[in-house]
């Protein structure tokens, strides 16, 4: 039986089709009002960082101390990374299911893998775009307030690290979204995980002392201090701090980071809190470990999300 008739078409380029998915997702993201809202909030925060010193120096009549390393140490805090990831990725799969738009989408000649990768690429573009603006803004603000900046050529490394850190959360949120098909559930799971891990790591750090094990869960990890010729630098060894740590590694490749343990002793009736040296690790190990950990987590969660999406029955 001849089943392939003469009307069989030439296969059109998959790139055009893939790009259509990216376009679809980009428009979705850009027209989401809360995304714009978050960008505004981010800008407000970044502005505060360099406006506050001006305000306080005016109030105290103390001149602002020059800080040539402000830009290179500029990084989005863990909660910021998490929120950016949440806003960008929270709806991207689950609300397709919730609104029923997944039905016309998945019956177009784009495979589910194409849709998955397209949405991921769109999230990457959005985050890259926002972070780039934010970093440029930070550099300009930092230069205005703290004088001329050193090592500006390292800023792209910081940007890359921040994006990598964000993508770990993106992967977790997408996995939760494709498994639950519910925005609320995936947001709750993500929030629970973020704050749960945050508090767990803090509590364990205080009670049992810092440990390299803390760096194997998503988050800020163990915190230590790095000795450099320029002085002491605070280091978070977890997955949220890849950007700064990569830069620190480039600047001080052979530096070591000391991790201290908080010890509470009773001296008579007074508790005495002391910091006791616990262990030391080279910055190279800290940086490479957090990069590998982040990549492994990201791949694992994205894989789970991909499989869940690929095999999902569309009951909506």
């Amino acid at each position: 039986m001849n089943t392939r008739t003469s009307t069989r078409r030439r296969r059109p380029s998959w790139f055009i089709r893939f790009w259509a998915v990216v376009r679809y997702e980009m428009l979705w993201n850009i027209r989401k009002k809360k995304f714009l809202g978050l960008v505004i909030v981010a800008f407000a925060l970044a502005t505060l960082i360099w406006v506050l010193p001006i305000v306080s120096s005016n109030a105290t009549d103390q001149p602002i101390e020059a800080d040539p390393d402000f830009a290179v140490n500029f990084a989005i805090p863990g909660i910021g990374l998490f929120l950016f990831a949440l806003i960008t990725a929270m709806n991207s799969f689950s609300s397709e299911f919730e609104s029923g738009t997944v039905v016309p989408l998945l019956t177009k000649p784009v495979s589910r893998t194409m849709v998955f990768l397209g949405k991921l690429l769109a999230a990457l573009i959005i985050i890259l775009f926002t972070y780039t603006i934010l970093f440029v803004y930070g550099i300009i603000g930092g230069t205005l307030v703290y004088g001329s900046q050193n090592n500006l050529h390292l800023v792209p490394i910081g940007l890359f690290g921040n994006i990598l850190s964000t993508f770990l959360w993106v992967a977790i949120i997408i996995a939760a979204g494709t498994l639950s098909k519910s925005t609320i559930i995936s947001a709750l799971v993500a929030f629970g995980l973020f704050f749960g891990l945050l508090f767990a790591v803090q509590i364990i750090s205080v009670l049992a002392g810092p440990s390299p094990i803390l760096n194997y869960v998503p988050g800020s990890g163990a915190s230590g201090k790095m000795m450099t010729p320029q002085g002491q630098i605070d280091i978070g060894a977890g997955t949220d701090n890849i950007g700064v740590n990569m830069i620190n590694y480039v600047l001080y490749p052979s530096a070591n980071v000391d991790f201290n343990m908080t010890r509470i002793e009773l001296q008579g009736n007074q508790p005495l809190i002391t910091q006791v040296f616990a262990y030391s690790e080279p910055i190279s190990l800290i940086t490479s470990r957090s990069v590998v950990t982040t990549i492994v987590y990201t791949i694992v969660f994205l894989f789970i999300a991909w499989i869940a999406f690929k095999w999902a029955q569309i009951l909506e």
Partner: protein
């Protein structure tokens, strides 16, 4: 037989409920195939399997000659192309379709068109025509979030036709439309079928199906009760079709002339009304009226007791429920 859709032993279960039960659906190419059944018969479920949204528990599906399989069996990376390409020649309108509210009507068509791999130029040519066809001209630059239900149905029909598909699957296209909209949709469906396309249209509106379809499948509880041409399905229960003609004044000459027509079985005269029994269900009114006029009769009224799909439907469903009570 050249089939656009062929399912064999198709079965789909939702937990313990069997929504589609060993269904053998055959849709010939270049027909408008009505897919009929009461609420919950399994029409939407079947269609969702055909377009790859659901995986059947059992059975095989061929659409436009291509074996369809769930992503699961398509191989790990293979499916990146495989499943997508089988949808290139298919246009599908879901039951009560939902489109992204933040897109304008024309943007939606443009992005979907791009998903079919259409070039910008091709899209620019095609989209205004489609918007015109479904009667959305002037509203194409409004956000879909601001569309009424009927307008969403219309954009839903437009997006099925983007890539000039060979097969169009419409799941209750006139659901939620006003009477004018329903008539318009019927016209559009006929238009769609003109260029040698195959159309599968699900409905429970029998008059709608009667007006547009060439073939019909009636399903109940996931199983096909009958599947044939509209004509044969309509003639399934009642005897041959009847034509009632009222004339100003009857005469033997008229009756004899009508009787001689090859398509006529018998003529019964009651008063000034001739009850003519036909051999076929074809429309023979013109022929009959010509014959009567030539015999000197003046026709006052004529009515054909047309198809009785509704009777067939009700009887079939009734029988099915009776035999296998749920």
């Amino acid at each position: 037989m050249d089939l656009a859709i062929e399912t064999n032993g198709l079965t789909k279960k939702y937990g313990s409920l069997t929504a589609v039960n060993r269904l053998d659906l055959r849709v010939k190419r270049k027909t408008i195939h009505g897919f009929l059944g009461p609420n919950g018969a399994g029409k939407t479920t079947t269609i969702k399997i055909l377009v790859g949204l659901l995986k059947p528990n059992e059975g095989t599906v061929r659409v436009l000659g291509q074996e369809l399989h769930g992503d699961k069996t398509a191989g790990f990376l293979n499916s990146f192309y495989e499943q997508a390409d089988s949808r290139l020649s298919i246009g599908y309108m879901p039951e009560l379709p939902k489109f992204p509210k933040h897109l304008k009507g024309s943007e939606l068509l443009d992005i979907y068109g791009q998903m079919y791999g259409m070039t910008q130029q091709h899209r620019n040519e095609q989209i205004p025509k489609l918007i015109e066809l479904v009667g959305l001209k002037g509203r194409e630059n409004d956000l879909i979030g601001k569309y009424s239900k009927g307008m969403q149905q219309r954009i839903g029909i437009a997006q099925t036709l983007l890539n000039n598909p060979e097969l169009v699957i419409l799941d209750e296209p006139s659901l939620g439309l006003d009477p004018v909209g329903m008539v318009e949709v019927r016209e559009v469906v006929k238009e769609i079928a003109k260029e040698g396309r195959t159309v599968l249209v699900s409905s429970h509106l029998l008059f709608e199906v009667e007006q547009i379809c060439t073939d019909v499948t009636i399903i109940n509880r996931g199983t096909a009760l009958v599947s044939d041409t509209l004509q044969r399905v309509s003639g399934l229960i009642e005897g041959p079709a009847m034509l009632h003609v009222e004339v100003a004044k009857t005469s033997d000459k008229i009756v004899n002339a009508v009787k001689k027509l090859p398509s006529v079985t018998s003529v019964v005269q009651t008063g000034n009304t001739l009850r003519i029994q036909m051999k076929t269900h074809e429309d023979t009114r013109a022929q009959v009226s010509q014959e009567i006029t030539m015999s000197g009769g003046i026709i006052i009224g004529m009515s054909q007791k047309t198809s009785n799909l509704e009777d067939v439907f009700i009887q079939l469903i009734h029988k099915d429920q009776g035999e296998k009570p749920r």
